[in-house]
Symmetry: none
Subunit: 160 residues, 2 copies
């Protein structure tokens, strides 16, 4: 039972794969909302929750007459770009949930395999667990450590 958000998300994804692989699509908010029988702000919700930098997208838009919404797929010219992007989306501290959704998105994008994802989660759990039970460090500090480890692991793959 797919949610409206998921339906709109996959509709937009189809636009990306139509004909050749495009690196952007543009659309009109009102039309799309009418097409799906929902309020226009629902489209903003889909964009804000699904087409994020964490998932590899950027969104541009313009208001007024001839307004539009343009969704761009992020692509990296050089390995260093990829590493910078990884550091940006992870930041200095990250929760377990955030880490997991980044990993899911990376697998979705084909940047890592499911086994690689598994290895990262095992390592994250280990540091978190050890930090908590052996070293008694605060939840915040644990999230800082997790961010550091995640950046290093994903960063190392970006170069290989």
């Amino acid at each position: 039972m797919a949610s409206l958000t998921e339906i709109i998300e996959s509709y937009i994804n189809e636009l990306f794969t139509e004909e050749e692989e495009r690196d952007y699509v543009s659309l009109r908010r009102k039309e799309l909302a009418e097409f799906f029988g929902c309020v226009p702000s629902q489209i903003n919700y889909v964009l804000r929750s699904r087409f994020t930098p964490e998932r590899g997208y950027l969104v541009e838009s313009q208001r007024g007459g001839h307004g539009y919404i343009k969704i761009l797929r992020i692509c990296y010219e050089m390995p260093q770009d990829k590493i910078n992007h990884i550091e940006e989306i992870i930041g200095d501290s990250i929760s377990e949930q955030e880490a997991k959704s980044i990993l899911a998105a990376f697998q979705e994008r084909g940047l890592i395999t499911s086994r690689e994802r598994l290895l990262v989660e095992v390592a994250l759990r280990f540091t978190d667990e050890t930090g908590a039970s052996v070293f008694n460090i605060s939840p915040y500090k644990r999230n800082v450590l997790q961010a550091e480890l995640l950046k290093r692991m994903l960063g190392s793959l970006a170069l290989s």
Copy 2:
């Protein structure tokens, strides 16, 4: 006498083998809890204790409307004798050099890819480094931690 946790665990395992072998199942926490006549958080306990990355599973979930829990099986659980074998090779404590040569051997035999090897090495290095510089633990203790992490990471992959 099978515990509720075991009953729910085998129910989920059956979902994996229904029809063809699936690589994931999704479910709704509340429904499952009602089905087994328990509180919803019981489901979390089953997931946390049985469907862990160390055993080859990943769990994705989403709250709110249209929320769900999705369990992915990445690797089949490793038979006990193989787990024993890996634990024997690694032991209770391991140096960075020993760890590296085990990983090289595993890659040589095609059990892990070079990227997987890289991930493990990065995680081991991080643990060692953090143990030394942040927690000031002895070299011996660090080798104990490394052995534990290495066992968990290799164990999760169900190597043949």
